[in-house]
């Protein structure tokens, strides 16, 4: 029995160009979007006006020696040493993130399955 094939539309050159550009624009938007959001955590550093020494930065003799070899003074090393991350969990945001990821996969697997059945039917014919 002859198989029925879906005949895809033919896309114009302009349409092909627009499709490529659209994906690129989406990529750039997603790269720049976090800059306008509060989500980035670069760690916090504290600066004090007191005189900074390797001892006040809790660096032992060996560590102080290595910093010096790398070309750092205590003042230059202070922001690096005192930078700390905060791992606080916002449960609503965590829940939203989990929901987005799970929703994405569920949507993708469901649509993929529908499309896959069409591919298999066209390739192998109707299900016996």
């Amino acid at each position: 029995m002859a198989k029925a094939h879906f005949v895809p539309k033919i896309q114009s050159k302009l349409g092909q160009f627009v499709d490529c550009i659209l994906i690129l624009v989406l990529v750039y938007v997603s790269l720049y979007a976090p800059l306008f959001m509060q989500g980035k955590d670069n760690g916090n550093s504290s600066n004090s006006s007191q005189k900074v020494t390797w001892q006040s930065l809790n660096q032992n003799t060996y560590e102080a020696g290595q910093w010096k070899k790398l070309g750092y003074t205590p003042q230059q090393a202070q922001p690096i040493i005192q930078t700390r991350f905060e791992y606080s969990i916002s449960w609503p945001v965590l829940g939203l993130t989990a929901l987005v990821i799970i929703g994405y996969y569920v949507f993708m697997l469901k649509i993929s399955d529908k499309e896959y059945r069409e591919v298999i039917r066209e390739k192998f014919g109707d299900r016996p």
């Binding site: 539309k9 994906i23 560590e63 290595q66 993130t97 996969y105 993929s112 298999i120």
Partner: protein, 464 residues
């Protein structure tokens, strides 16, 4: 939707050249990843301390061992350019395949941009050491991408032979420096006891370190992209990928040992070139020179492998009309996907010039992570739709479904780690893939031939 009965014409097509052997697969996989030992892995030290980074190195090593096992089985059976994209197309469905191809193209193009950026920064730093202040790295970044794209354009054999040589040098360099710092005499050159101070953030720091722990191995799955160009994919892919994974576990452990014994953890956590810096503080000229050359080589090898893989993924997408078919052409003489290679050059250059290295690296890591989550689902379906014995498999991985389940659970943990450090980026990138999926389903898929997507000589999948 219009349907009619037609005969699919047989067309003579120029195919990609089958010239690759296991050493090329090793050179491709390790080449892409080894740069992670020269830069990037150390950000996990900032997240969880030196010990946290070591634990992340081994736990994430387990994640990638699962990836390598699964990839070896599926790719040795689905030996086609596009790697995981082609697997998804045959096993899960078109929308998943489109997403997987986007993960691949974006992960590799962004990694290539990051490699070229660091290459430029390294030259700038060394020029500064020799008294040439404020050297503009941008021309070097541009030339680096152009040179490697030209190499890829000219042929896959020379490209991956080049990668094998410079990658082997970068790996041997780590071993030489390891012996150079006398690991058998603690306290002489290496001072772990003075530099390691437990877990600065406790156990949650270890979890947070998982995100950048991926940098130790990110990209090893790229070996699959070369499957269509292997003389024997069933032999080359498992051999090249597994030996590559062993190489990386060794290189990662040695790198951690050298750096954590020479550099204060706070410095290590933010260093741009940690192995090179470790060599600097030894006061050994030969180690410093060898680490500089190896850092440059590792960057070049990674960017080179990324161009190879991103172009194959884009080529495969276009060949199936998921993206404009103009990019699905093979060069008549060099037998490379030359239009895809050329198309991705300006994109990589533009990423490199954005000065968003953080975002680019995070996008690359997350694209990889989404791909690994797919792999765990893909493996379970692959065994269910075609049980063992129903089709010829080049390699059968042991303990199924344990690696797939373990991979899935580790991926969930890394999502949580990413949320801890880069929650905003995670949501932004997910939004990108959701919008792209809607665009594909409701617009792009109308240009795709349905039955032509299934090209493997397999029987009808069970249950369909």
């Amino acid at each position: 939707m219009s349907e009619q009965v037609i005969e699919v014409p047989k067309q003579h097509q120029i195919a990609l050249k089958k010239v690759l052997s296991p050493i090329h697969i090793w050179g491709l996989g390790v080449g892409i990843v080894l740069v992670g030992e020269y830069m990037g892995w150390n950000f996990s030290v900032a997240k969880g301390g030196a010990l946290g980074s070591l634990i992340a190195c081994w736990v994430i090593g387990l994640l990638y061992t699962c990836v390598a096992m699964i990839d070896s089985e599926v790719t040795s059976t689905v030996a086609a350019a596009g790697g995981q994209y082609t697997q998804a197309k045959h096993i899960i469905g078109p929308l998943m395949a489109f997403n997987v191809a986007l993960y691949l193209v974006l992960a590799y193009t962004m990694l290539e941009a990051a490699d070229a950026t660091v290459f430029g920064d390294l030259l700038q730093e060394v020029a500064g050491n020799f008294g040439v202040a404020n050297l503009d790295p941008k021309p070097f970044v541009f030339l680096c991408i152009i040179f490697l794209a030209w190499l890829n354009y000219r042929g896959v054999f020379v490209t991956l032979t080049f990668n094998f040589v410079i990658t082997a040098f970068a790996f041997i360099a780590i071993i030489l420096v390891f012996f150079g710092v006398s690991p058998w005499s603690p306290g002489v050159v290496l001072h772990h006891a003075d530099l390691i101070h437990g877990l600065p953030y406790g156990w949650i720091g270890i979890i947070a370190a998982f995100q950048f722990g991926m940098w130790y191995y990110l990209g090893i799955e790229g070996t699959c992209q070369a499957a269509e160009e292997c003389r024997s994919a069933a032999r080359s892919i498992p051999l090249g990928t597994m030996s590559g994974m062993i190489t990386l576990v060794i290189a990662a452990s040695l790198t951690w040992y050298i750096c954590s014994g020479l550099l204060p953890w706070e410095y290590l956590g933010q260093a741009t070139t940690p192995l090179y810096d470790a060599a600097r503080v030894t006061n050994s000229t030969w180690m410093q020179v060898i680490m500089f050359v190896a850092t440059v080589f590792s960057n070049l090898a990674s960017a080179n492998g990324c161009i190879n893989d991103a172009s194959r993924a884009w080529f495969s997408l276009s060949r199936d009309r998921y993206m404009p078919p103009v990019f699905g052409a093979v060069h008549p003489h060099y037998r490379t996907p030359y239009r895809s290679i050329l198309f991705l050059i300006p994109i990589a250059v533009s990423f490199a010039f954005t000065n968003l290295l953080d975002q680019i690296i995070t996008f690359s890591i997350l694209s990889g992570l989404l791909g690994y989550t797919f792999m765990s689902i893909n493996m379970v379906r692959f065994r269910r739709l075609w049980p063992l014995g129903s089709i010829h498999r080049g390699y059968i991985h042991p303990f199924h479904p344990l690696p797939a389940v373990m991979l899935f659970l580790l991926c969930v943990t890394v999502y949580f780690a990413t949320y801890l450090g880069y929650g905003g980026q995670l949501l932004s990138i997910m939004a990108f893939f959701i919008v792209a999926s809607l665009w594909f389903s409701f617009h792009r898929y109308q240009y795709v031939k349905r039955g032509d997507q299934f090209t493997m000589p397999w029987p009808r999948p069970k249950g369909y």
